[in-house]
């Protein structure tokens, strides 16, 4: 068994997907091990830091893969394909629930409460972090998703383009816009913090 697992560890995602379609359990488990955590983190962030919901989404996503493996687009890399599915799931969830403003208000409350905390550097870092998260939520969806994929999930521009089905130029311009927006807002935050 360990030998088998070692072999599957050398397989590409796409090859694992093929093996999985042949009913190889180890191939499925290897794919799960590679992506479950990053997908969970992705859903966790996109689903308002709801760990249970994020886990449900991971479950639903892998169940989709198990039941409809042929839906995998062989012209794309597995990574970009699976994250595009994840992205579509979150978009559908946003459509279902109009809760974004509620969550935003909640975080703002937390953020304001945090600003009253001590002013040492660790706390300042934590405050900056919370401010960044708040500003990210304030960003419109298309800019937020490219920023998160680029700077939180660590995707390349090309991978983002494939995941979202847009061209690389659009990805670059969206990342640029998101960075400029965040920088501008957080400069203000820094100034207000020092004042």
């Amino acid at each position: 068994m360990r030998l088998l697992r070692a072999t599957y560890k050398d397989f590409s995602d796409e090859k694992l997907m093929h093996e999985m379609q042949l009913g190889k359990e180890q191939a499925f488990q290897e794919l799960y091990d590679r992506y479950a955590q990053s997908l969970h983190q992705y859903f966790y962030r996109r689903m308002w830091k709801d760990k249970e919901k994020a886990e449900d989404f991971v479950h639903d996503l892998f169940t989709k893969i198990i039941k409809n493996p042929e839906s995998f687009d062989v012209n794309r890399t597995f990574k970009t394909w699976i994250f595009s599915v994840a992205n579509n799931m979150t978009i559908n969830e946003y459509k279902k629930q109009a809760v974004r403003s509620v969550v935003s208000t909640g975080i703002e409350t937390e953020y304001q409460a945090s600003t009253n905390a001590s002013s040492d550097s660790i706390v300042q870092d934590e405050m900056f972090r919370e401010a960044l998260e708040k500003e990210l939520i304030e960003l419109d969806e298309k800019h937020r998703e490219v920023f998160e994929l680029r700077h939180i999930q660590g995707f390349s521009v090309k991978e983002i383009a494939q995941t979202l089905g847009i061209n690389e130029g659009t990805v670059k311009s969206r990342v640029f816009y998101a960075v400029k927006q965040l920088t501008g807002k957080l400069v203000e935050f820094k100034v207000s913090l020092q004042a």
Partner: protein, 229 residues
């Protein structure tokens, strides 16, 4: 944001930036303040990927779901869910039934053909008939002796056959007649047959007219013919 720009921002202090670095990042940051904020954004964003992980139970339940989906041979035959499985098995069953029916229909036709071929082949390959004259004329050694008693010894080893058909058959009979005695010298040549020890024979009457005349003129040829056959 290109990796190089990201690297410049993350790994340097604003005061340490070269002219080239400044030119590279000027599109992104317009001041030292912005530089420091962007640097903090990039560093903090990495840590936003919080160390949350799905529970081990999720892995187990998904593995169970996988095994349920791909259990047995059907997993290899289909990968499109339960509904498709049924369709595939139904196709197999229908195909097998269709093949069976076609075979059952073809079997009688094939069988008739075989019988016709056998029937048409029977006369084409007749059994080799045993020479009947041997059984009728010479059934035993006693009959042979009786036949021989009808042959008159003419002297000088020449024997004359009576008018009745002279038949000689079987290897033992052939051996008992000595060809060196010009056995057929004065015999009625039209009814003399020659045997070669097998079932073939030469009847002089069957020979062309010219050949018969030659034989009648030269009875010694019979000996030659006898030994040849």
């Amino acid at each position: 944001m290109e990796k190089e720009i990201e690297k410049i921002i993350k790994e340097n202090q604003f005061s340490n930036l070269s002219k080239e670095d400044l030119q590279s990042i000027e599109e992104w940051v317009g001041s030292e303040e912005e530089f420091e904020v962007l640097k903090q954004i990039l560093m903090t964003a990495e840590s936003l990927n919080e160390n949350v992980a799905p529970s081990p139970k999720l892995r187990e339940s998904l593995t169970d779901a996988f095994n349920t989906q791909y259990s047995g041979k059907t997993a290899i035959l289909t990968n499109k869910g339960e509904g498709k499985k049924k369709v595939v098995w139904l196709r197999f069953a229908v195909s097998a039934a269709a093949i069976f029916v076609v075979l059952m229909l073809l079997f009688p036709i094939y069988n008739n053909d075989q019988q016709e071929i056998t029937a048409s082949n029977t006369p084409a390959v007749p059994k080799e008939k045993a020479p009947q004259f041997t059984e009728k004329k010479v059934n035993s050694t006693e009959e042979l002796e009786q036949n021989e008693s009808n042959i008159e010894e003419l002297g000088d080893g020449i024997r004359e056959l009576p008018n009745q058909l002279a038949t000689v058959n079987s290897s033992e009979n052939a051996a008992s007649s000595n060809p060196s005695n010009s056995f057929y010298a004065d015999a009625d040549l039209s009814s003399v047959s020659f045997f070669n020890g097998h079932s073939d024979r030469l009847v002089v009457n069957d020979l062309p007219e010219e050949s018969r005349q030659v034989i009648q003129e030269n009875p010694g040829l019979l000996d030659i013919l006898y030994t040849s056959f």
